[in-house]
């Protein structure tokens, strides 16, 4: 069975939980302490096999997960962070409305470099707002604009984190089928 390396990016403004989502997914760990990321941190995870086209047989993705610092500018070096990605998890913080607005800017830049990439929208920190936070409706709108799904996650509890990465992996497989 073919193992295909795919680069995916975690997009979002600072402190929405990108590093925590990657940590939860790759190492099943979570830390309450917030440490801001500088630059990029790449981790890798082998995904379960996905059934592609019947003629192709199953495929397996090795996801190279690019945890990218919350960006405030988009110079050519920053655009290199995005280049060559097959997809992205677009992450907002459900408790901070402004994160959805900033996320749209980042997603637009990402898609300008990777027009064929697929997105899955994440509303993270749902444990802090079990009844939905102030950003949920904006994130729902953003997901709808990009033809993606909105998944409400908690990196802290692990709620729906694996599901979000799996969905992205499947969407990448379908796009490249």
């Amino acid at each position: 069975m073919a193992i295909i390396k795919r680069k995916i990016c975690l997009l979002g403004t600072f402190a929405v939980g990108k590093t925590s989502l990657a940590q939860r997914f790759v190492n099943d760990q979570f830390s309450d302490k917030y440490l801001t990321t500088v630059g990029i941190s790449v981790s890798q995870k082998l995904m379960p096999p996905i059934q592609g086209e019947p003629s192709d047989g199953p495929i397996q993705h090795a996801l190279l997960i690019w945890d990218i610092a919350g960006l405030e500018k988009f110079d050519p070096v920053v655009m290199n962070y995005f280049r060559g990605a097959s997809g992205a998890l677009a992450v907002g913080d459900v408790t901070r409305g402004e994160t959805a607005v900033e996320l749209k800017t980042i997603c637009d830049k990402f898609l300008s470099v990777n027009p064929e990439a697929v997105l899955v929208t994440i509303g993270n920190k749902i444990d802090l707002a079990p009844d939905g936070g102030e950003a949920v409706s904006d994130l729902q709108q953003l997901a709808s604009d990009y033809g993606s799904e909105l998944i409400l996650t908690s990196a802290k509890s692990g709620q729906r984190v694996t599901e979000a990465f799996r969905l992205l992996s499947e969407k990448i497989a379908w796009r490249h089928a």
């Binding site: 440490l35 630059g39 790449v42 280049r83 060559g84």
Partner: protein, 455 residues
């Protein structure tokens, strides 16, 4: 002569790695090996195995070998060293001029990155603190809550004022009834987001400083005026000036304030130039200003100028079930602040909240819930979690006025000093509240404090 890039790389201690068109590693020097120490090095391995950050950029890597691109750069690659600490590398890929290969230069920028990380951390931590506590506090506490007729009247008046940004408003009500919150709501509902909201507690400033604070001063206007300074009226230009405890304003200042409100202009201290100001005045007091007018301690003309619109904030004891509604909102607020998951109140606790007379109004309720939330370990506040101040019963009030002198006698001055200190302690240093507890005016209390040397 050697390739200048190699000379620079060696002098600057850059790691160097060469790869070919198949993206196979051809050569790697000692510094690059050290910088990539955590990555397993395979002979003739792929450059993307060594630097997974290049996955997805393979086409560009090949174009660099073919000299079709000038460079490819990635900053701040995070790598963990043997101790598990993050090190930061900058990567620059260049075509090799004299061979069909490309060169990756790696620079250890950990020291600079850590400075950047610390600066970002501080900035973001501050932002997040505000976002998580203050912002949510603001969100949760930024509206007057309640379904009682009294509260609905207040909200209705504030909504009507949202269409008028110029009318002067007088907020009346006991201490702790939310006059400050109402002032902010009036401001926010009727002004643009950029319009300033400037607040001053007229009881908090010494009499001789109030004029300079309100109207500003020019350089040299008085001994310590080394620079000109605009006053609060100017700071509030285009917005709202909230004068809290207006009843404490000295009579002389009341005349000047009236003049500014009527003429919509002021002169800084030490200036002959008149400045136009566009400011909405919201004033608040817990005093009966009509009575103060009768006692000649408040100007009648200023009162009429201020009470174009008067809103009376009802005391908590008159709000019935709203007490529980407001208490529940405080539970939500302190859940956020203390990271707890308290759901609400037991039936006994609800009954206690409704039975209490809340002399300190919403402020007292907030303190009561905060205290309970600090110590609670379960998910429901019970009666014993609520520490309610004992109401002054008629008997107690009567007892206070029936004190008698013991046979050994007393020192009246010492008793007076002790009572003033006690009142100040109970009022947490708030002189107006302490004066109310003692049945004195604030001016009388201040005089007696000075007499006893109480700071």
């Amino acid at each position: 002569m050697r390739n200048p890039v190699n000379i620079i790389a060696k002098q600057k201690r850059f790691g160097v790695l060469l790869y070919d068109r198949q993206l196979q590693v051809i050569d790697i020097d000692a510094i690059a090996k050290q910088l990539l120490a955590s990555t397993e090095l395979k002979p003739h391995g792929s450059v993307t195995d060594l630097l997974p950050e290049l996955v997805g950029a393979e086409d560009q890597m090949v174009r660099l070998v073919d000299k079709q691109e000038d460079f490819y750069r990635l900053d701040h690659l995070n790598r963990h060293d043997a101790k598990g600490e993050v090190r930061y590398l900058n990567l620059l890929t260049l075509p090799c001029v004299d061979s069909h290969q490309a060169m990756i230069l790696l620079e250890d920028v950990t020291q600079d990155a850590r400075i950047l990380q610390a600066a970002n951390q501080q900035r973001y931590d501050e932002y997040l603190y505000r976002a998580s506590i203050e912002h949510r506090r603001h969100q949760i506490g930024s509206s007057i809550l309640g379904r009682s007729a009294a509260i609905e009247r207040v909200i209705d008046t504030i909504q009507k004022l949202s269409h008028i940004s110029s009318a002067t408003v007088l907020l009346m009500g006991e201490t702790g009834t939310g006059k400050n919150l109402a002032a902010r709501m009036i401001h926010e509902s009727s002004m643009t987001a950029e319009a300033p909201f400037v607040e001053i507690n007229c009881a908090a400033l010494p009499e001789q400083l109030i004029e300079a604070e309100l109207f500003g001063y020019e350089k040299g206007a008085f001994t310590h005026a080394v620079d000109a300074k605009p006053g609060l009226f100017e700071a509030a230009h285009g917005g709202t000036l909230f004068l809290d405890e207006i009843g404490e304003l000295p009579l002389g200042m009341q005349a000047k304030l009236l003049s500014v409100i009527e003429s919509k202009s002021l002169r800084r201290l030490g200036s002959t130039r008149s400045r136009q100001i566009d400011v909405r005045i919201i004033a608040a007091t817990n005093r009966d200003l009509q009575a103060e007018v009768a006692a000649k301690s408040f100007r009648e003309d200023l009162l009429y100028r201020l009470n174009v619109v008067t809103i009376t904030l009802p005391p908590l004891r008159e709000l019935g079930d709203d007490v529980v509604l407001i208490a529940q909102r405080f539970v939500e607020l302190y859940n956020v602040q203390f990271n707890k998951k308290v759901k609400g109140f037991s039936p006994e606790a609800r009954r206690a909240l409704l039975a209490h007379n809340w002399p300190g109004n919403v402020r007292e309720l907030s303190n009561c819930i905060e205290r309970a939330m600090i110590f609670i370990s379960g998910n429901e506040i019970d009666r014993q979690d609520l520490i309610l101040s004992l109401p002054a019963t008629d008997n107690e009030r009567g007892a206070a006025s029936r004190w008698t002198v013991p046979p050994t006698g007393i020192e009246l001055e010492a008793v007076e000093q002790s009572l003033i200190l006690s009142a100040l302690e109970r009022a947490q240093g708030n002189k107006s509240e302490a004066a109310r507890l003692l049945g004195l005016t604030r001016h009388t209390l201040r005089y007696r404090m000075e007499k006893h040397g109480i700071e």
